[in-house]
Symmetry: C2
Subunit: 345 residues, 2 copies
């Protein structure tokens, strides 16, 4: 089959690779129907040394079950499924608490010897716990929105959920990428009244307004912080959802959050050390939360409104490429020509 590998920063190739096979009785093999390029794929696209390549790429997909291991029940060949970007057994104490990303039997696609999803087919470990079956007769027009359940919609929801967004809340979202925009949508669904979107790409922030943003702040840094404070009566935003992952975004979050408020991070941090002392988090009793989203915990909850068209998270896809064109998809996202690129096999 054909599969995507990153050789080093800026160097993405589609190549021949062995077809995936059942390796454990808990596996399934799934043929990809739709996959996509993630904002987090751009981090290695900027920085990956050649010594770490070639690395399989992609962790979001819809697919058709092709084969299941002997210990997988509830799925048969031909089922349409969505997979979270992290596989998990869905039975351990962490999964039962909704923290599938910490499942001791779990892991991430395209990491640690598990294949990527920007490919024709993928082996899914812990398939029974990981996969969620979709209606067989689903309208093809819904596929983009269903695909967002694999990562970006669940991740945006996680940001809002961890920040305990509640009706009437004031929420600031940092980042107008797909996750940031779907954090806007999620904050709106949880009842936020005021949603300030910090982003500077007009087409994206317009989509943010469609999803529920009430204000857009294109300024960054101190200027952006001042604007958010001005919009929130001088005190800052009760919740700040940080969907970027770079240190300046964290610093903006610290500046924009209200005393006693919450910073909820879902952008994968590209830093390890950052200010958390008296002058940043401690003095104003600010809570810092977030992490990789346990998307599996949210799929059933978010699915109905996608299926009945109440929400259209799939609007974040503004370009579609074939599998052979995946390198062009990376380039387009990196150049901000595309917000999020969907891949058809």
């Amino acid at each position: 089959m054909r599969a995507t590998f990153m050789y080093k920063a800026g160097d993405v190739r589609v190549e021949n690779a062995p077809d995936p096979v059942i390796e454990h009785p808990t596996d399934a093999v799934v043929r990809i129907v739709r996959s996509c390029v993630c904002g987090s794929d751009l981090h290695p696209y900027h920085t990956m040394p050649a010594s770490e390549g070639p690395a399989p790429m992609g962790h979001e997909f819809l697919g058709i079950v092709e084969e299941v291991g002997s210990e997988v029940s509830g799925f048969t060949r031909g089922d349409l499924v969505v997979s979270p970007f992290a596989f998990a057994d869905n039975t351990c104490e962490f999964c039962r608490e909704g923290l599938h990303t910490s499942c001791p039997n779990g892991g991430f696609f395209a990491v640690g010897g598990i294949g990527g999803a920007q490919t024709e087919a993928v082996r899914v470990p812990q398939a029974q716990g990981t996969l969620v079956k979709l209606p067989a007769d689903v309208d093809a027009a819904l596929l983009p929105s269903l695909l967002t359940l694999a990562d970006v919609y669940g991740t945006g929801h996680h940001a809002a959920h961890q920040a305990r967004v509640r009706p009437g809340d004031t929420v600031t979202v940092i980042g107008d990428g797909a996750v940031g925009l779907l954090a806007v949508l999620s904050a709106k669904q949880l009842g936020a009244e005021r949603i300030i979107l910090m982003g500077r790409h007009r087409d994206r922030t317009d989509l943010g307004r469609f999803f529920g943003a009430t204000d857009v702040v294109p300024e960054r840094g101190e200027e952006g912080i001042a604007k958010v404070r001005e919009l929130t009566g001088g005190h800052g935003s009760r919740a700040v959802l940080e969907a970027v992952g770079h240190l300046p975004a964290y610093q903006m979050a610290v500046g924009a959050v209200r005393p006693g408020g919450v910073i909820s991070r879902v952008g994968v941090p590209q830093y390890e050390n950052a200010p958390i002392g008296f002058g940043s988090l401690f003095g104003p009793n600010v809570t810092l939360t977030g992490g990789p989203a346990p998307v599996r915990a949210y799929i059933e909850q978010l699915l109905p409104a996608v299926l009945d068209g109440t929400v259209e998270p799939g609007r974040v896809f503004d370009r579609t490429v074939s599998l052979e064109e995946v390198p062009e998809g990376y380039r387009a996202m990196d150049q901000r020509e595309a917000l999020k690129v969907m891949v058809t096999p």
Copy 2:
């Protein structure tokens, strides 16, 4: 009157100072009945440059109202009162949310021109919002426990409250100072089932066991982390209450906390930057919370069990000195000869 000043690290003096007077109609003047030395007073005792001195010291007190300003109602001369270490109007939007430490009309004793409490009398700004009246006929034996409501008990409670400690919970407390020990008591009051106290001073950890600790871990660093993980089935502690403030204590908290758990800090951080990236907080979805305790928000709630003797937080005081002996009190706490030193005028 006589009052305590720190001239520089290690140099504490009791000197003559002007008697406090009403400066604003919202002030009261309170004559000190009991004050004390705080673990946080030891931070400047270790590091304060001479250029920052002389600084008034002390922020915890019980007292008798001597005079009130024209806008203070509900208090009269002779009332016995307890004061939180932070004064606040108790009417603003932050105070109404229970975040008195962020009151725009508030501030801290012994900071920014406000007198300290290791003295004979103190001016209390925002007296009506700040002070809490105690029963006139209170048993003198209860004074030590009542004094803890000014800071250390409320601060220990804040740590547990911010960590949302709940019945059946597993909680680890880092630090066997007065705040750590009262965090143990608070976790117990909130229903924690397993309370692991990290501390190496046997007399203190014994008091911790009296307050509710089920396990004591004297080891520090990686060894201490391993011990907590061993005691918690390998996964770590759902909540970690950090009552020290030094970076190694934070690092222990990161190592000892369970994925999806909470680190709640009340030790005043003696650092600004610390690890919060994928390898520390983000990857395991750990929440970081805490800050200076809005003690005022908790006094009424914690008072009844103190008055009826259900709890005895005043047991943290193991030495009493006169005002003139305050420098000796600092020395004894610094040398770990005393856990917490009470000051009588």
